[in-house]
C-alpha cells in the first residue's frame, strides 16, 4: 500500500454496512468494512460463503441485489459517493467506468441476443462509441483474449459458445468501454479446472494490458494468489486480514487465514490392497447410454473392503453416470455389476431390499438430498425402520446413536426440520441416513464440492473416522484433486466415458502420466503466486516439443 499515493486511489470505501432480508426482517451482513483500491491495482477478496465478498464487490459499484440494501458508510468512486448517488447517476458510471464479470457467463449473457450485440450495447448506449467502431474493438479484444475466430464469434448466440470461451467473451464485454475498474465475481468457479487456466491467463493479460483496476472475488486462495496484488480476507462480513499477496501467503497473521492456507494439507495414510481378497464391488466392462447418446464405454472398476476409490474427471466424463449405473438408476446396456461376488440385477427396481440396503449413496447437494418437509427424526429413522424393522424406543435410540456418530447433539437436532440446518450439518444428516441402513459401501458423489473448504474438510475427516470405525468402503466421485489426495487409496481417472488411468494414489500422483491425467494434475492451482507463470511457460515449452495439452472445452 505504501507504494501508492492517496491521489491514485480509485475506490475508497469507509464503514460499509449492508443489510440482508431474511423473511420479514433485515439483518446486517456486512459490518463496517473499509477498502481502498488504487488505479491499475488488482485486489483479491477472499472468504467462504457468507463472508460478504460478492456483496462488497457489488457495493463497490453502488449496487445492491434484491434483498440487500446498503445502510451505512461511503463508497467513493473517483470522488463520487455511490452510496448516495441517484439511480441515473450510477447508471452513467455502470458499464462505462465500472464493469462487472459474473460467475456464470452462461447465465449472465442474454440468451436472446448475439454476443456482438451484447458487446456493443454498453458503448453505444453510453454514447462512447459508434456501433461499427465498437464492433471493430470487439474483434480486437476477442483476438487479444485468444478466442477462436475473433471475427466470427460475435455473431454467435451465447449457447453456441463453450463455457471457457464465454467467460473470456464476458471479460471482453466488460472491457468494451475501457472502464477504470472491473469487478470479477468468481469468474472461474463454474469452470473445469483445465479450462480455468486459460481464462485466468486471459483475464490477467487483459487487465495488465489496459492497466485496469480490478476487484477479484473468489473462495479459492490459490486462484487469487495468481491474480491479485493485494488480498483481503473476509469472514462473516468483517475484514479478517489484509496484505500484499506474497507477504500474506508467506506469513498469515490470523488463525483463520492460516486455516484457509492449510486446507489442502490433510492427508490420509493409504490402506494397502488386501492380498487375494475378492473385491466388494466389481464393475465389469459396463456400457451405458442416455437414450441414444452413449455415456460410458466399457468401464471396469473394483472396490475392495475398507478402501476408498476416487473416481476423478471433469464434468461430462461420465463419473456420475457410473454411480447411477452401479446403483441401478440407469441400468447398464451391457456389462455386469457384482456385489460381494453376487451379480446384481441391473435395475434397482429388480434388486431386493437387502441388496439395496448394503449400498448407500450420499449426494453432492445436501439441499436437494433432504426432503425440506421432514424432520431429522424421520429422515434418519425411516431407513432404520424400513430396513431393520426397529420401532418405538429402539428406533429413537438408534436415531440418537446415529446423530451422535455424526457429531450432532441428538437433543438439539432430532426434532428439527432439515431446512433449519447449515450446509455442513445437512451433509452430516445425509451421511447418517446412509449409515442408518448399515451398509458396507457408500457412494459419495461430489459430497464436498457444494461446501466451503473448512466445512468440507470436516466432512472428509468425519467420513475418514467412520471408515475406520465401521470398516466401510467408499466410492468417492470428485473433480477436486485436493480431495483425492486427502482421502483416496486408489484413483480412477475418467475422460469422455472411459477409464484412462487407474492405480494406487501414491503411483497416480507421480509421472509419467497419460496426457489427460497430466493436464488434469498440472491444472490444479497452487498457492505459489508464480505458479501460473511457470505453468504457462512450461506448457509453451512442451508445445514447442509438439505435446499440446488443451482442455476439451476449448
Amino acid at each position: 500500500m505504501s507504494e501508492h499515493n492517496d491521489k491514485d486511489i480509485l475506490v475508497r470505501i469507509r464503514g460499509l454496512r449492508i443489510e440482508g432480508q431474511s423473511g420479514d426482517h433485515w439483518t446486517e451482513i456486512v459490518h463496517g468494512v473499509d477498502l481502498d483500491l488504487h488505479k491499475g491495482e488488482v485486489l483479491g477478496l477472499i472468504g467462504e460463503s457468507g463472508a460478504g465478498k460478492s456483496t462488497i464487490g457489488l457495493a463497490a459499484m453502488g449496487f445492491a441485489r434484491d434483498g440487500c440494501r446498503i445502510t451505512g458508510g461511503e463508497i467513493l468512486f473517483d470522488g463520487t459517493d455511490l452510496a448516495k448517488a441517484g439511480e441515473d447517476e450510477k447508471r452513467k458510471i455502470w458499464g462505462a467506468r465500472i464493469a462487472y464479470v459474473a460467475q456464470s457467463a452462461a447465465a449472465a449473457f442474454n440468451p436472446a441476443h448475439r454476443l456482438i450485440d451484447q458487446f456493443t450495447e454498453a458503448p453505444v448506449q453510453h454514447g462512447l462509441s459508434s456501433r461499427a467502431q465498437s464492433e471493430e474493438e470487439a474483434k480486437a479484444l476477442f483476438a487479444r483474449l485468444q478466442l477462436p475466430d475473433p471475427d466470427g464469434i460475435g455473431l454467435r448466440y451465447p449457447h453456441q459458445v463453450s463455457g471457457g470461451q464465454l467467460q473470456r467473451a464476458m471479460t471482453a464485454m466488460a472491457m468494451s468501454c475501457k472502464p477504470d475498474l472491473i469487478i470479477f465475481d468468481e469468474p472461474t468457479t463454474a469452470l473445469d479446472v483445465t479450462t480455468q487456466i486459460e481464462v485466468l491467463a486471459a483475464i490477467r493479460d487483459a487487465v495488465e494490458a489496459f492497466d485496469t483496476a480490478a476487484i477479484y472475488i473468489t473462495h479459492d486462495l490459490a486462484v487469487v494468489a495468481q491474480m491479485a496484488d493485494r488480498i483481503m480476507v473476509l469472514r462473516h462480513g468483517n475484514l479478517v486480514e489484509e496484505g500484499e499477496t506474497r507477504a500474506m501467503l508467506a506469513a498469515p497473521k490470523e488463525d483463520y487465514t492460516r486455516d484457509l492456507l492449510s486446507v489442502r494439507s490433510f492427508r490420509r495414510p493409504e490402506h494397502p490392497i488386501p492380498a487375494g481378497e475378492a473385491p466388494l464391488l466389481k464393475v465389469d466392462n459396463v456400457t451405458a447410454a442416455y437414450g441414444d447418446v452413449p455415456v460410458l464405454h466399457g468401464v471396469s472398476v473394483d472396490i475392495h473392503r475398507k478402501r476408498t476409490v476416487a473416481i476423478v474427471g471433469e464434468s461430462g466424463s461420465g463419473k456420475s453416470t457410473l454411480a447411477r449405473v452401479i446403483t441401478g438408476l440407469l441400468p447398464a446396456k451391457s456389462g455386469a455389476v457384482s456385489y460381494d461376488g453376487e451379480e446384481m440385477p441391473l435395475s434397482y427396481k429388480q434388486r431386493g431390499k437387502d441388496q439395496l440396503r448394503r449400498m448407500q449413496m450420499i449426494y453432492q447437494m445436501p439441499d436437494t438430498a433432504l426432503n425440506p418437509r421432514q424432520r431429522i427424526r424421520d429422515v434418519i429413522g425411516r431407513p432404520v425402520s424400513f430396513y431393520l424393522g426397529l420401532t418405538g424406543k429402539q428406533l429413537e435410540d438408534r436415531v440418537r446413536e446415529l446423530l451422535t456418530m455424526i457429531e450432532l447433539d441428538p437433543d438439539d437436532y432430532i426434532d428439527r426440520l432439515t431446512t433449519e440446518l447449515s450446509g455442513g450439518q445437512k451433509q452430516r444428516i445425509c451421511i447418517a441416513r446412509a449409515l442408518a441402513a448399515e451398509p458396507q459401501l457408500i457412494i459419495c458423489d461430489e459430497v464436498t464440492s457444494a461446501l466451503d473448504q473448512l466445512v468440507a474438510e470436516d466432512i472428509l475427516k468425519l467420513l475418514q473416522r467412520l471408515q475406520d470405525d465401521l470398516g466401510l468402503s467408499y466410492m468417492f466421485i470428485t473433480h477436486d484433486l485436493a480431495t483425492v489426495r486427502a482421502i483416496a487409496d486408489e484413483v480412477v481417472v475418467m475422460y469422455q466415458g472411459k477409464v484412462v488411468e487407474h492405480g494406487p494414489k501414491t503411483e497416480m500422483f507421480k509421472p509419467p502420466h497419460h496426457d489427460y491425467t497430466d493436464l488434469l494434475l498440472s491444472s490444479v492451482p497452487e498457492m505459489d503466486p508464480d505458479w501460473l507463470d511457470k505453468l504457462l511457460a512450461d506448457r509453451a515449452e512442451q508445445a514447442k516439443q509438439g505435446r499440446v495439452l488443451k482442455a476439451a472445452d476449448h
Binding site: 441401478g328 438408476l329 431390499k353 436437494t368 438430498a369 426432503n371 431407513p383 424400513f386 441402513a437
Partner: protein, 275 residues
C-alpha cells in the same frame, strides 16, 4: 398463534380484506339455518314485497324472503363449488403425481387423455355432458370436477416433475420405497404450496363456471337458492335501473375477488419475491 398474528400484520390491506370476506362468507354459509329468518324455499309473503321490516331485502317472485335466499345461496353455491374443487384436486393431484412419479407410458397415457379433455372447450363440454347425463347437482359436481381436474393434473404433474428429480426422491427410490410412500411422503408435502394457491384460483373458476351454467339454466336447479340463477331470474330488472339482480352477481364477484386477493398474497409470499 403469535406467528399467525405476525403473518396477518405483514399482510397487505387487500389480503386482509380478502381474508375478512372469506371468513364472513364461510360463517354465513355454515350458519345459514341459524342466521336466516325463514326456510330456504318457504313462501312467507306476497311476491315482490318491498324492502322493509319483516323482509329486510323484500321477497322474490314467489314470495320467498330475499335475504334468506341470498344467504342460502351462499351456502349452496359456495358449498358446491368447494366440494367440486376439492374433488377436482383429489383427482387431478393423484393422477398428476402418479404421472410424474411413475413417468414412462403411464405419464404419456394420462397426459394424452388430459390433452384430449382439454381440447374440448370446458363450457361446451360441460353443456354437452350435462345434457347427456341430465342436470342434477351430483352430475354437475362430477362433470366440473373432471373438467377442472385436467388443469390440476397439469399443475400437479409439473410441480411433481420438479420434485421427483430431487435427490431425496431418488434416495427414497433407491431405498426401495413404494409408490404410495413416495407420492404421499416425499412429493405431496413439497407440492402443497403451489397446489394450495391453485386451489384458491380453481375455486374461483369453478365458482364462476357454476354460476355461468346456472345462468344458462343448466346449473343448480330451482328451488335451490343459487346466485347464478338468481341473477338470471331477475336480469330483466336491469332495464329499469333496478340493481336487485346485481346483488347476487356482486356477491359472487366479491367472494372471487377476495379469494384472488388472498391467493395473490400467498403466491407472493411463496415466491419469495422481496418488496
Amino acid at each position: 398463534m403469535d406467528a399467525t398474528l405476525r403473518l396477518l400484520r405483514s399482510a397487505p390491506p387487500t389480503a386482509l380484506f380478502g381474508l375478512f370476506i372469506i371468513f364472513a362468507y364461510s360463517f354465513i354459509a355454515i350458519f345459514a339455518p341459524v342466521l336466516t329468518p325463514y326456510g330456504e324455499t318457504e313462501i312467507v309473503g306476497a311476491e315482490f314485497e318491498p324492502w322493509g321490516e319483516g323482509f329486510v331485502l323484500g321477497t322474490d317472485s314467489l314470495g320467498r324472503d330475499m335475504l334468506t335466499r341470498l344467504i342460502y345461496g351462499a351456502r349452496n353455491t359456495i358449498g358446491i363449488a368447494f366440494l367440486t374443487t376439492a374433488l377436482a384436486f383429489l383427482l387431478g393431484s393423484v393422477t398428476g403425481f402418479l404421472a410424474a412419479t411413475i413417468s414412462g407410458w403411464v405419464d404419456q397415457l394420462l397426459s394424452r387423455i388430459v390433452d384430449v379433455l382439454m381440447a374440448i372447450p370446458a363450457l361446451i363440454f360441460g353443456l354437452l355432458v350435462l345434457t347427456i347425463v341430465g342436470t342434477s347437482i351430483t352430475n354437475m359436481v362430477l362433470v366440473i370436477a373432471v373438467l377442472e381436474s385436467t388443469r390440476v393434473f397439469r399443475l400437479a404433474r409439473a410441480v411433481a416433475m420438479g420434485i421427483v428429480v430431487m435427490d431425496y426422491v431418488e434416495a427414497a427410490r433407491l431405498r426401495g420405497e413404494g409408490l404410495w410412500w413416495i407420492m404421499t411422503r416425499e412429493v405431496l408435502p413439497n407440492a402443497l404450496p403451489p397446489l394450495v394457491a391453485e386451489f384458491g384460483l380453481r375455486f374461483c373458476f369453478v365458482f364462476l363456471f357454476i354460476s355461468a351454467l346456472s345462468f344458462l339454466g343448466l346449473g343448480i336447479q330451482p328451488p335451490t337458492a343459487d346466485w347464478g340463477s338468481m341473477v338470471r331470474d331477475n336480469a330483466t330488472l336491469i332495464t329499469f335501473g333496478d340493481i336487485t339482480p346485481l346483488m347476487p352477481a356482486a356477491a359472487i364477484a366479491l367472494l372471487t375477488v377476495a379469494v384472488n386477493f388472498v391467493v395473490d398474497w400467498f403466491l407472493h409470499k411463496a415466491s419469495g419475491l422481496k418488496e
